[in-house]
Symmetry: D2
Subunit: 445 residues, 4 copies
């Protein structure tokens, strides 16, 4: 481990989060012998990757030139011989996200980018690109680990598992990390003195156990979550209150994203109000991003600026660095990641992606077994949401119109009937340039 040997490729290197991941690698240099990091982006992201890449280079220089930072638009060069490939790209940039959100609002729907019509559209744009990356990886770095944190992270992981030959893939999300931080604060726990087990889908996990000093404190956590404004939400989600009787009845603890299913009407009202006051979430993020990039341009800046904290994506990059180190060092720590189900969650198909607590070995994550969910309410809704994901992934690959319509029809966040068709048609139109799978589907004449 003395000699630095690892090559890391970061696709979507122009992301405003790049300083966080760079800082993560710097902090872990004693355990992670990184030799070179390649920040790669597409033509559309050229300016951004150059700005943030220069900042990354200054950060590394300040830390003592621990490794090289390459900036490139040549994805193949970045992938060649890589040990880890991190994907944090955003097809169509924030502009596409905003278009999705505005289309959703126009039809009185929620345009959130990981579920509903927004998540659907983002999956349709993203999956062709990730599969393209996988094809390159098969040739250029077949033994590399693909660490994805592009949203919708669960569906993107499932697409790789089902439709590529890359088996070493892990989908990451910061919701488990934020959930842990919320729990620690509420229960007065230090990070390593307890063990959480979560299980579900990306942005749809339930806490199954919180083991602490020989006790399972699940019931206590459930009461806390039921009776207080949810303490387990990230800063970018406004406060909200579960119905205590409904949540207690679940028997397991929902994550903050479950409010899209248990409290959709309130969220819709909040979104409309927010939009009137501040614009859509995508627009707010775009503004924050612009401000960040202004900061990043400062040639004297050589650390991650504190303004980056507080965004929804916080800790994503940190989780990525943790995961990479756990794999490289065979740490056998437990992380909460998206992997192939293989019967871990008995109520879901064997071949789908699930987000579950897993031991990280040198060969990647091994999930902890998950006991059957007892409450039909949990099983029913989780199975439905996985069906939406399965159909969306299939649709994103085949471009089949009926499959797309079906995915939206069964999603509880999508309005039903003729309006489903209308919103779908509009999403296809505004995203046309990013949907090569539609062109190749000969059924859609």
């Amino acid at each position: 481990m003395t000699k630095s040997t690892l090559k890391v490729a970061i696709i979507g290197g122009g992301s405003s989060y790049t300083p966080e991941i760079i800082e993560g690698f710097i902090k872990r240099h004693a355990e992670l012998p990184i030799k070179e990091i390649w920040l790669v982006d597409c033509e559309e992201g050229k300016e951004k990757v150059e700005i943030v890449g220069a900042l990354a280079q200054r950060m590394v220089e300040k830390a003592g030139n621990l490794f090289d930072v390459h900036i490139t638009l040549d994805r193949k060069a970045a992938l060649k011989g890589a040990d880890f490939v991190c994907t944090q790209f955003r097809v169509g940039l924030l502009k596409a996200r905003v278009r999705d959100e505005r289309t959703a609002l126009k039809y009185d729907m929620i345009g959130q980018e990981t579920n509903g019509v927004g998540g659907f559209a983002k999956a349709m744009r993203t999956i062709p690109v990730i599969l393209d990356i996988c094809k390159d990886m098969e040739v250029l770095c077949p033994d590399a680990w693909l660490i994805n944190f592009t949203n919708p992270s669960g569906m993107v992981t499932e697409a790789v598992l089902k439709y590529s030959n890359i088996e070493k893939v892990v989908g990451l999300c910061n919701v488990p990390v934020l959930t842990e931080k919320g729990l620690e604060k509420h229960l007065g726990l230090a990070p390593n003195e307890y063990q959480l087990q979560v299980a579900g889908l990306n942005h749809f996990i339930y806490i199954r156990h919180l083991w602490h000093q020989g006790q399972d404190r699940m019931k206590e956590v459930l009461n806390i979550v039921a009776d207080n404004p949810d303490p387990l939400r990230p800063k970018n989600i406004p406060p909200f209150k579960w119905d205590p009787d409904q949540v207690r009845n679940l028997g397991v603890v929902p994550c903050c994203y479950h409010r899209y299913y248990y409290l959709p009407d309130q969220i819709m009202l909040d979104e409309i109000a927010d939009e009137k006051e501040h614009g859509t979430r995508g627009e707010i993020v775009a503004k924050m991003e612009q401000e960040l990039f202004e900061l990043y341009k400062d040639p004297n800046l050589n650390i991650k600026p504190p303004q980056l904290a507080g965004r929804g994506g916080e800790f994503y990059s940190d989780a990525a660095c943790d995961l990479i180190s756990a794999i490289h060092n065979d740490k056998r720590t437990i992380m909460h990641v998206n992997v192939r189900n293989n019967g871990t969650i008995k109520e879901l198909p064997e071949d789908c992606a699930v987000e579950v607590s897993s031991v990280i070995t040198s060969n990647g994550p091994v999930p902890l077994n998950v006991e059957r969910f007892e409450n039909p309410a949990v099983v029913g809704l989780m199975r439905l949401m996985k069906a939406f994901e399965e159909l969306t992934v299939e649709a994103a690959v085949t471009g089949d119109y009926g499959t797309m319509l079906q995915a939206l029809t069964i999603n509880p966040m999508v309005r039903k009937g003729e309006i489903t068709r209308k919103v779908l048609d509009e999403l296809l139109e505004i995203n046309a340039e990013y949907l090569p799978q539609l062109a190749s589907n000969t059924n859609n004449v």
Copy 2:
């Protein structure tokens, strides 16, 4: 079989459908040696059972006094020694249904009596009574078959299977019969020259196969259903049109009640319009019923009046007579009935009730095996709806508030958030006199 020996008890004997079931028994007298039929009702239904009972007696007299018709309010006397018990009662009569519907409309929800808030309320009212009947049966006629056609028929059957000691129970519905009649008309088929296989939940069945002369004509049926205004609906359901791409993608043929899940917005609009013009469905039925009872009072009437046809419940009673005859005569014909799953539908719990094509033997229905459903859209939604049923049945027995709220929260026909609690509280209030399980639940202080 020469000597008439069978005793049939009809609970809810005061139903306006009673002339249909009486006619059914008269028509089948050669194969069904009925000795006595007991029409039993509660105090609230006294007037109705006396009117329709008198008509029944005139009908039987006209047919040559084939069997005796008893009219009684004494349920125990009716059950004692019965061979078949038919349940077609309606707790709280149509007034309770109308109250549910009006409450639903007040909160912009669909008040349909087999699903959503209406079905939930009806299950809450009905299940305590059916379990009470089962307790009587255990003592008075433990070997009798319980043929239920009180709605929600699937949940009522599941309650009996899970919470009583009566194992000989079959839940009936006329949707499969109406579906067959629709198919026969559309495909030009005679009743006995083809075989249908359906599978799902009550009011939530899919056609899996239509075998005819060595061909499976499913794809053809799917195209017909997708491309035409649905030909498989009963007369009491207004015409509607599926989205052809969505339905074709299912790969299996939905029943007419699936429009509550695939086209809920349109139904809501229709219901509001209908209500403005004619009142709620319950009010329309109440008016029809009143007119029927006026007819029934005519001492010269001694046949089933033609005006009874055309209501939604048509063929229920006929199906009941068919089923009773098939059991009594060990016919081994195939009917579509509600029974314990036992793994027939692999995607649902073993111990729940399902509606599936079954061979009727002298020991009751034996389901045909159902191949796995291929489309995740079908599996996801069906699992969700079964979860609603499981929770509703549990809530109807325990009276637990959290379970009730959970059942409604996950039902796609119910609006979410504070409004769920409000509509639930109002339903409990307007149905208070019919909900003994709430009084006995000590958790609900």
Copy 3:
């Protein structure tokens, strides 16, 4: 149905059982409009097919020339345009069976032709031929039903289901028929007044239910079978006695072939004694066959000679005629046949062949759902025997040595260790001319 149109091809037409199937078709001529029957055999069976074919022609002539009987060695001509293909061939004739039996005896093993080393060897010889027939059928009669009664019938059916494109296949066995006849005799039942449900593998079925006049008489049957010398065995099986405590504990009724697993030592002793006195079973059958063919040669014989009855294969052909008629006439009667599992037996793989009670429609068999087996003893042994079948089928297709050895190693009728290898090597040697799959397996250098 007035005009005769059906073409039936019988592969292995030279079988001594052919008069039975011909008689079966003659008896059913009112319901089965057969136009032509093709008896086809291979060069090795030329003499036999000519003798028995001539008898068949005389039988048909006597019946009034109901249909044509063709005799041929040209399989393709026989298959072209066939509606039903019956397979009753025996690769290597009885000589091969006798060789297997003698090899088994040499190593102190049971050489029975449907399980153990004998069944294994017969599957290895038969499966390449049946798959070859399927390839022809795909071209010459893709819509025909393949009715197999070549042993081992379950494995042959599984091979077709897994490794050919022929989906319309049913495997037949006479054990269920003989079981029914035994039960009828013991319980004093007429054939149509009760209904049996069986489930398991070919030559490994358990009775799950005997429904009669509203009662399930299983417990009674179980006691009869436990306490008497088994009444459910065919004439060609010598009397034997189950251990009453062991069989009663099963909770379900075993078939006569279960004695190979529950009483193997006694069977081994019987086989050795039998062999000494009369030769092996194959030798006895060969002698009987020779005598039959002497009879068949008699130009005055124009009926099925009574001497044919009493052999083990009795009723096979009758079951085949029943099945063909049930399919042709969409009878929806219940028969016990080998079909794709599809979750009918929950404890076995979805894609394997099982022998289960099924409704016969115009589209073939639809299995009755089978409730979970409660006794682990049944589940454990059945899963093991299916594993033997799965591996044998795979080995018969791939010719892989390790797979062959594995199949034998886990079979409880086969002795373990070096001896397994020895007996396998000898089986491969004596059957070499019938094992094309070994030649094509390049792993076996």
Copy 4:
């Protein structure tokens, strides 16, 4: 952790292995704050527990009086307030084992004490006692962990899980430890640089993965095991050689106990030869034990004597100390233990005991998810052996004769037919004083 607080009760404290577990606790005193250890035995073991207890006291004294060692015949006193209860007792001592072995040999069967007739008899003797201990624990130390290493460890654990209220139970075995040591030697691996995943039943585990530096070295291990005299066996098992083709075909690596299923004839021959030369295994062990106790009596001995090493039970006690420390310190290391299945092994019942790699938390073991077994040979045999275990556990509780006979009948190590009954009857007779469940079973008149 500074103050010593833990109380450990060791039931069967008079075992010759006690010095190993005492040494284990001494070695770990820095991490395991043990205050008192109670060695408890029954009247029959009084002399042994006094001898070995005195040695234990001398060992602890030499180590600096780290904790108190109590010697008692009063089980309740030992259990009261215990934190960990270790069970290593042997009902009927070695005399009973020898009787089982000699009975087995008399009927030409293998008398091994964890499977076959020997394992069956030992389970029958042991399970009533462990359930009795559990009843005491429910009252005296309901929060204690029960660490069982009495054989047959899997069945004993299953009995506790199914028939007691003690949920905190782990069954231990040294086979996984010995397997790891074998692998380390063969592959030149250090203990912590690789991770093994095993799955199966006690004495019936397969290695599923060996992860090392980012590679799964399973195939390599499989080849080593197939081609060499098994390197994964403990010293007390004589060398043997797998069939390379059969083992390679498994696709997973068997443990040394699989030779009872794959090579039973050779083992039978070895056992007979061994018995002639040295007596049965139980007799050899009894002699070794006697020699050990002579050593233990030496008042100058105050360490674990080296002669204890080399017996089959080696490392059991060490594994127990490791497990206790991992629980107490929430180590989250991975151990291979017997726990409730809960779907970890998909092919086995949810509620049975399995031996699987698990993360050890402060709340006990959490199994790693196990991917489906691909080879039917593995699934079939494992399901059969679990059926034997399920039936034996049930029989040990109910004392039902049919269940006992069934368990033996399906076990491949037991000869079938009348002989099964004979050997069972003799086992019941020679063990009569230890089988209270037979007396209470009123079915066995």
